[in-house]
Amino acid sequence: MEIGTLTFDATGLYQYSWLLIAIPALSALLLLTFGPLFDRKAHWLGVFASCASCGYALALFYAMLRTGAAERAVDVPVAEWISAGSWTVSFGLQIDQLSILFALLITTVGSIIHIYSVGYMADDPRRRRFFAYLNLFIAAMLLLVLADSYLTLFVGWEGVGLASYLLIGFWQHKPSAAAAAKKAFVMNRIGDLGLTMAMFSMFAWCGSVSFADVFAKVDGIDPGWVTAIGFFLLLAACGKSAQVPLQAWLLDAMEGPTPVSALIHAATMVTAGVYLIVRSNAIYALAPVASVAVVIVALVTIFVGAWIGCSKDDIKKVLAGSTMSQIGYMMLAAGLGALIGPVAYAFAIFHLLTHGCFKANMFLGAGSVMHATDGDVDMRHFGALRKALPVTFLTFACGYLAIIGIPPLAGYFSKDHIVEAAFEYHLGVGLAALIGAGLTAFYMTRLLVMTFFGKARWVEGVHPHESPKIMTIPLILLALASIGAGVALNAWIIDWMAPISAVAGETHAVSWMPTPIGIATLATVALGVLAAIWLFGRCEVPSTPPQTKNPLVIVGRRDVFGDVINDTLVVKPVMALSTAADVVDQSGLDRMWNGLGKGTLALSQLTRKVQTGRVRSYALVTVLGALLVGVLLLIGQLG
């Protein structure tokens, strides 16, 4: 049943699939080292590299489409990596239905964002370096999704962490960006801890970490350990996909340029956690407890994300909150995969793909809004922008309709399946998902209304103008994708993911007509929209955040105290401990050892006193010595 089992050796096109990773990596290296030589034109190399790997991925997809459903999973061994004692790790790629979808998402959205950022970063002096980091990210993300073993995946995993560190902290002169970058990397590192511990357990049990071996032997591992591995993988997923315990970094990550937020913190990197759980479906199948944990984490994140989304005034922070809650949905579906049936994995991937499109679209839209208002992100200074930025408004509206789940668009299909799966599992979970959908509708409408409708609250001297062609074309492309993706993938994705999504025999009928739950979600969505319009559409929106006693808003504005909890529980104690360690080391241990030296000096001062200089005291000491020796001899004799 698992994807890994039926792998075929690579032939033809697959054999060189490692080029997918090599091209962006090489171009990143070139841009970094030899970039200054052709500084002005260097970024086009980056765009070309991204489009090349996108083309290659499409070709692979086309080849895979033509081959039969059975032999689609291909294993491409590249090189032998580590031979350490009892186990050896080889470096190889695995191209199957799951990874090719991800590859497509990464490369297409990546290329679109590359083109967009040509315009967005036009006036940034270090643009060449920006494109180098973007290419590095694409390479690392592709390595992550195409890896055939957890260790290779881990290299991509940390590579992506590094790329996000570099890109968040791209504008290094801003101290807040540098701090945000460090925070993101460290929190990702804590997540990676989970992945390393999972790998160690796999090594300890199966002597290897490649997907094929581990999934084949997973039923041999004792259940306690399988659950532990499940939890470790969940920790890793939370770290990377900004789920509840480790979600604080995503909001700070908005310090980075907007294309970065769009690509990394909306479409691709944050979905890596979902990929990890879907990829390890064999482990979660045997660890129901871990899957329940995934569901719980997902639900909590959905509400936290929505909460932050509703109360933030910064457009990017709202979108980040919404990303967090949408990934919560994907996690929910991934968690349900092991509980109600593997078809939920397909729903997770389906929602992931559609979300990739419309969230990237909205982020780029927000980017072009910021571009127009000279980098201002505060929605209270927007208002009535639909006339000033028509194209941005239209594309943003498509994304908006998609995310709240209006029928023809992508969001409806993907989210609807997840809500149904949630109800199928457990009524409470279903209701929570439903309310989540309503909240999503509420804050998205709030955002749309505050930004594009109502009275213009522009700051003086700001006269927004439409973004140049090079930025609006990607917006249009993504808008089309977020409209069409839902319909296109709805039925197809289930049987495309067949080896993983369908248990033999049980096919999940997918109907076009809305089911009763579908109608219920539409109702809650409508409710959410009306509430938002009622609150923000009609009445005057003050340009400064009003003081409110409403605890919900206060909590929301403080990012659900995520940062505060992290600081008090982890950051402050570690910092205190480290200053203590430094002090203890310098004045404690160091002085102790120096003290040893001073002690000997003091001792010698003491013994100096014995030499009085007077002959007779020496004579006395001699006599006493002689007496002592005599007595001892005498005792020796008598004894």
């Binding site: 004692g85 940390e158 590579g159 160690f200």
Partner: protein, 507 residues
């Protein structure tokens, strides 16, 4: 092998140092570099011979028959990699510290080259020694050149730092002398004739009377002092703070490795029963070193002290790898020794370039260097990433092996150690953020005006390249190290960890 390759390898730098006593003034530097490169060439020549037949290079000549001391040199996987590390680092340090001048007239760059060559020769002999007495003599002798390197070329309080280094080193050495003498006499009882040959003694001394415990503990105490572990580590930050970056590289990259090298080569192989018994204590000590070193590094206000504390943390990892008794862990430690040499060298040298420009080593005096010297900050970031073991770099492979090895025996120890890796990320990125990012402070603007010169770029990115190449193709070193690790484990009769579901790994 008629040609005594190892002896020449060991003595060549010492001869170089001797030649540098002659008043050659300006040419001193070039002669020094020439000898260092010649040693590197010789070491490289030894590799194919070793790969051909590992025992070809061993060479045993009776030296002092009265108490069984031999001029015995031999190289196994670990020894070879350490020899190559030393041979590679020395020319690099000489090249990096090209126009170094110590305080006062007699500490010229020629004196620096002579001392470095002497240090290299002695440490090569230590890594190749198969005879405990030879090991001990060279172990003690390395203190002298290092003392003068710190004392002659360091910062203001260099003499105290050098003295403290020497006293700690001698304390360790003297404790070890007890067991060196002990081995002489006990080997007589165990084998009839007194002998100091490690291969000849084997495990005959172990497991017997409590004397074996005394011998082992004395050796261990000396090595704990040498590879600084927490309670006795305070000499390293002080010395690193005062010494020039080049000599700190030699001190941390090569000299301190003799501690962990000795633990494997002598404590483990000669006293397996006692080592197994003391393993839990050493693991706790290792974990304390990891966490304490990392925390002290985060809290440190001086850049060079920070790097020294990171090394204390890294040594904790190495000891953890040794005392979890798995071939993966042991192989990991051996590989770790090599990687740590390169990554710490990169960190020290790049920071050295930074400090040379700004003039002070305090973290507080920096800010926003990125805008002034982007290439320098890029090099520092690369060196820092190798420090926090980013996958794709060699330090990751060795750290992963150590942790995987220790997980299979003691999962809780591996978890605590893994926390160390998170702290590693914190101290490197915190240091990078405080010095490099943010707006450039006025002092930084006037002092740091030039970016890396060609020489400095070669050094920094050369080292980074080595770390990345070893990271992507670790088998360059692992193919030599792993068999030695397995051999050591079988030699001391400890069963390696067998993954229950893993396929049958050839025993």
């Amino acid at each position: 092998m008629t040609f005594p390759l190892l002896t020449c390898l060991g003595l060549l730098p010492i001869i170089g140092a001797a030649i540098l006593i002659l008043p050659v003034r300006a040419a001193g530097k070039w002669i020094g570099l020439g000898f260092a490169l010649a040693t590197l060439g010789l070491a490289a020549a030894a590799v194919p011979v070793y790969l051909g037949d590992p025992t070809a290079l061993t060479q045993t000549v009776p030296w002092i028959p009265a108490f069984g001391a031999y001029w015995a040199l031999s190289v196994d996987g670990m020894g070879l990699t350490m020899v190559l590390l030393t041979a590679l680092l020395t020319p690099l340090v000489l090249f990096a510290e090209w126009n170094i001048t110590g305080k006062g007239t007699k500490w010229t760059s020629q004196a620096f080259a002579a001392l470095v060559l002497l240090l290299e020769g002695l440490s090569l002999l230590v890594f190749m020694a198969d005879d405990i007495l030879l090991f001990y003599i060279c172990f003690e002798a390395t203190l002298i050149p290092m003392y003068f390197l710190i004392g002659g070329f360091g910062g203001e309080r260099r003499s105290q730092a050098a003295l403290k280094f020497l006293l700690f080193g001698l304390a360790g050495g003297l404790i070890m002398l007890v067991s060196v003498v002990g081995i002489g006499s006990f080997s007589q009882q165990a084998i009839g004739a007194p002998t100091y040959l490690i291969s000849q003694i084997g495990v005959s001394l172990s497991g017997g009377s409590t004397w074996a415990w005394v011998l082992m503990l004395c050796f261990l105490a000396a090595f704990i002092l040498k590879a600084p572990m927490v309670p006795v580590h305070t000499w390293l930050p002080t010395a690193a703070e005062e010494a020039t970056p080049g000599s700190s590289v030699l001190m941390v990259g090569i000299l301190d490795k003799i501690g962990t090298f000795g633990m494997i080569r002598i404590c483990l192989t000669l006293f397996p029963v006692e080592s197994a018994a003391i393993a839990p204590v050493m693991i706790v000590l290792a974990l304390v070193s990891i966490i304490y070193g990392a925390l002290a590094a985060i809290g440190s206000k001086n850049l060079l002290r920070l790097v020294a504390y990171t090394s204390v943390s890294h040594f904790g990892f190495m000891v953890l790898g040794i005392y979890t008794f798995t071939s993966v862990g042991l192989g990991g430690t051996m590989f770790y020794q090599v990687n740590h040499g390169f990554s710490t060298a990169a960190l020290f040298l790049v920071l050295g370039f930074l400090i040379k420009r700004r003039g002070s080593a305090n973290v507080a005096d920096y800010g926003g260097v990125q805008s002034q010297a982007p290439i320098l900050s890029g090099a520092l970031l690369l060196a820092g990433l190798s420090g926090l073991a980013l996958p794709g770099m060699s330090t990751f492979v060795s750290e992963f092996e150590v942790l995987a090895g220790s997980w299979s025996r003691y999962p809780w120890a591996a978890i605590v150690a893994a926390l160390g890796t998170v702290l590693a990320a914190v101290y490197i990125l915190l240091m990078y953020q405080r010095t490099m990012t943010g707006p450039a402070t006025p002092e930084v603007e006037e002092t740091i005006t030039t970016d890396l010169t060609l020489k400095e770029k070669l050094v920094a990115f050369g080292l980074a390249a080595v770390v990345i190449i070893l990271g992507l193709i670790p088998n360059l070193a692992l193919s030599v190290i792993t068999p030695t690790a397995q051999e050591t484990l079988t030699q001391i009769g400890v069963a390696d960890h067998q993954a229950p579901l893993g396929e049958e790994v050839p025993a």
